[in-house]
C-alpha cells in the first residue's frame, strides 16, 4: 500500500516537472527561432527604409583618373576596394539566395556620390552604403554583372581602360517603415475611439447601472466578446465599417480608419473589464465619505472613484496596445494585406503583424524579415508587460 502510494507520488511529480519542462522548451524555441532568424536583419535602417526596392539608372559626371585613399577593409571578408572610384563593395546574398553586390563604403569625394540620373524629373542620385549594384556598363567593354560575384566586379571596375557608361543600382528595400507607421496610426486611432468609450461604459456598469437581469445579461455579453475569434470581428468590419468609411471619407476600399474601428470593437471588452475590476476595488468608504461631504453621485464618481482606477485604466491600455499590435486576421479583411510605403489613413496598408502574413504568403516566403518583425513585436509586448508592472509599482509608491 505504502509502496504503491510512493510510486504514484513519484509519477505525479515527474509528470508535473516534465510538463513544465516541455512548456518552457516550447516557449524557448519560439524565442530561439525568432532570434536566430530575425536578429541579423534588425537595424535602425529597417524602421526608416521602404519595403519596395527602388531602382536607379545613372551616369557619372566627367571625372579624372585618381587614386583615393581608402580605409582599411582587409579584416572584412568578401569586401573588395575600388580605389579608382573611392568605392568598396562586398559580396552578399539576397533573400532568395542569389549572389548580389552590395555597396560597403562610398568615399565622400567619390564621383558615385553625385551621379546624373537617367530618369525624367530627377537630377542627381547618390549611392549609399547598403545600396545594391545590379550592373555597370562601360564604353566599348562588356558590362560588369553582379551575379558573377563582387571580386570580378571590383577587378573590372578598377581597370583604368574601362570608362563607365551607366550605373544600375537599387535600394536595399525590405524596410518596414510603412507598416510601422500604420501600426502607430492604428494604436492612436483605436485608443482614441475605444479608451473613453470603454472607461465610461465600465463607470456606468459599476457605478450607475441598477443590478437587474438586463445589466447582468449585458455584462455576460461583454465577457463573451473577449473570447470571440478576431476573424469574426473582421467580418463585422468588412460588412459595417468598410462601407461606412467608404461612404463618409475619401476612402474607396478597405482602409486604416475601418481597421481602427474594428480594433476598437475588439479591445472594448478588454478595457471595460479591466477598468471595471479596478473600479470594484475602490473602497466603498471613499464613496460614502465623498457623499457625506455633500458631493453628488457624479462628482463622487469622477473626482474620487475614477482617479483611483488610473492604474487599471493604464493596465487596460497596455493590454489593448498589445492586442492591437498582435492582431492580424481581422485586419487582413478590414485594412488590407498590401504593404505600403506611403501610408494614408484612407488607404490600404499593413500593420506589422499583417506584414508578416503578407511576406509569408509571398513566393518565396521571407522568413528572415518575418522573424525580424516577430522579434520586434515580441520586444514590444515584453516592454508593455514590464510597463504594466512598472506603472503598478510607481503608482503604488506614489500613493504611500
Amino acid at each position: 500500500m505504502r509502496k504503491q502510494r510512493r510510486l504514484s507520488d513519484r509519477i505525479l511529480q515527474t509528470v508535473t516537472i516534465m510538463s513544465t519542462f516541455i512548456s518552457i522548451i516550447g516557449l524557448g524555441l519560439i524565442f530561439y527561432f525568432v532570434f536566430s532568424n530575425g536578429m541579423k536583419l534588425m537595424s535602425f535602417d529597417l524602421f526608416t527604409s521602404d519595403y519596395y526596392a527602388k531602382s536607379y539608372i545613372a551616369q557619372l559626371v566627367p571625372y579624372e583618373e585618381t587614386e583615393f585613399n581608402m580605409p582599411d577593409f582587409s579584416d572584412d571578408e568578401d569586401v573588395y576596394v575600388i580605389p579608382r572610384f573611392g568605392l568598396a563593395i562586398r559580396q552578399g546574398v539576397d533573400l532568395a539566395g542569389n549572389g548580389i553586390v552590395e555597396v560597403h563604403y562610398v568615399h565622400p569625394d567619390s564621383v558615385f556620390n553625385t551621379m546624373i540620373s537617367d530618369e525624367v524629373g530627377i537630377d542627381t542620385v547618390d549611392m549609399d552604403a547598403n545600396n545594391i549594384i545590379e550592373r555597370i556598363s562601360y564604353v566599348n567593354h562588356p558590362t560588369s554583372l553582379s551575379r558573377r560575384g563582387a571580386e570580378l566586379f571590383a577587378q573590372e571596375l578598377n581597370d583604368p581602360e574601362r570608362e563607365v557608361f551607366q550605373v544600375f543600382f537599387s535600394d536595399l528595400g525590405g524596410g518596414i517603415r510603412g507598416s510601422f507607421i500604420t501600426t502607430l496610426w492604428l494604436i492612436a486611432l483605436t485608443l482614441l475611439m475605444a479608451l473613453p468609450m470603454g472607461v465610461l461604459t465600465a463607470v456606468y456598469f459599476n457605478e450607475f447601472a441598477p443590478v437587474n437581469v438586463l445589466t447582468k445579461t449585458m455584462r455576460t455579453f461583454i465577457e463573451t466578446l473577449t473570447g470571440v475569434p478576431s476573424i469574426i470581428y473582421g467580418l463585422l468590419g468588412i460588412s459595417v465599417f468598410v462601407p461606412l468609411t467608404v461612404a463618409l471619407t475619401p476612402a474607396v476600399n478597405t482602409n486604416l480608419i475601418a481597421g481602427s474601428m474594428t480594433l476598437a470593437v475588439i479591445i472594448l471588452p478588454i478595457i471595460i473589464r479591466t477598468t471595471e475590476e479596478s473600479l470594484k476595488v475602490v473602497p466603498a468608504d471613499h464613496r460614502a465619505a465623498s457623499l457625506a461631504l455633500g458631493a453628488n453621485k457624479t462628482q463622487t464618481t469622477f473626482k474620487v472613484v475614477l482617479p483611483q482606477a488610473t492604474q487599471g485604466i493604464l493596465t487596460s491600455t497596455f493590454l489593448a496596445i498589445g492586442r492591437i499590435i498582435g492582431e492580424s486576421a481581422a485586419l487582413i479583411f478590414v485594412l488590407g494585406a498590401i504593404v505600403r510605403d506611403r501610408v494614408s489613413v484612407f488607404e490600404q496598408s499593413t500593420s506589422l503583424a499583417v506584414h508578416i502574413w503578407s511576406m509569408m504568403t509571398d513566393e518565396p516566403a521571407n522568413i528572415a524579415l518575418s522573424s525580424t518583425i516577430a522579434l520586434l513585436i515580441l520586444a514590444v509586448v515584453l516592454f508593455l508587460n514590464v510597463s504594466i508592472k512598472l506603472s503598478v509599482f510607481l503608482l503604488e509608491r506614489r500613493g504611500k
Binding site: 468608504d285 464613496r287 457623499l291 457625506a292 461631504l293 473626482k303 500613493g399
Partner: protein, 251 residues
Amino acid sequence: MEKVISVEHCDLFYGDFQALKDVSLPIYRHKVTALIGPSGCGKSTFIRVLNRMNDLIPSCKVTGSIQFNHEETYGSGYDVIELRKKVGMVFQKPNPFPMSIFDNIAFGPRQQGIKDKVKLQAIVERSLKQAALWEEVNDRLNQSALSLSGGQQQRLCIARAIAMEPEVILMDEPTSALDPIATQKIENLIEELKKDYTIVIVTHSMQQAARISDYTAFFYMGELLEFDVTKTLFVSPKLKQTEDYVTGRFG
C-alpha cells in the same frame, strides 16, 4: 435647550427586517450625544438616518419624522446635498482619499464650486487648526494623506468634515480603529469641537461615552430603551437592561 435634530417615531426597514423600531430622540445644539448599545442594536443605522446615508442602500425604507432645523429631511423636495453639507460625518475607519492633505480638505468646498486658491487655503488652515492637526502637517500639505498615521488620518477626516462648516458632525465609532493615544487626542478634540458644533457619536466604549458625552442614548434590538443626561444614565439608569449594559454585565 434648542434641538438641532428631532427624530419622532422613526421606523427603518431593510427589506422585511426592521432595524429601528419607533425611535424618538432629540439632538441638542452644541452638545455631545453618545449612542451606545451592543452590536447590531441599530445605533449605526440610526446615525445614518440623520444625514440620509441610508439612501445608498436600495432596500432601505424610513418612516416617521426626522427634522433638521425644523425641516423634514425625508420630505419630498428636501435637498439631501444641503443636508449632508450641514450634517457632516466621520467614519469608523479613517478614510482619507488618496490625494494630498490639502486636496482632501479642499475636496468638499471644491465640489461646491469654490475655486479661489486663497479662499481654499484659508479653509484648509482653519479646518486643520480646529482638528488640532495643523501643527503636525502644515509643512507637508502637498504630501499624500495616506502617509499620515492612523490617528492623524482620522483627525484629517474630521478636518475634512469641518471644512464644510457643518452644524452637526456624526461620528460612527471614530476611535475603534485607533490606539489609546490617538483615541485620547480625538476625545480631547471632541471636547473642543462641541463649542462650535453639535456632535453625535456612536461608540462601543462605555468609558468613552461617559467621558465625552453630555447625553447618552442606549439602543437595544433596534429600540431606543433609554435616553438621558449621561451622568444620570450611567449612575442611576431607569431600566435594568441599561444598568446591566453600562456595568458590563452583557454586551
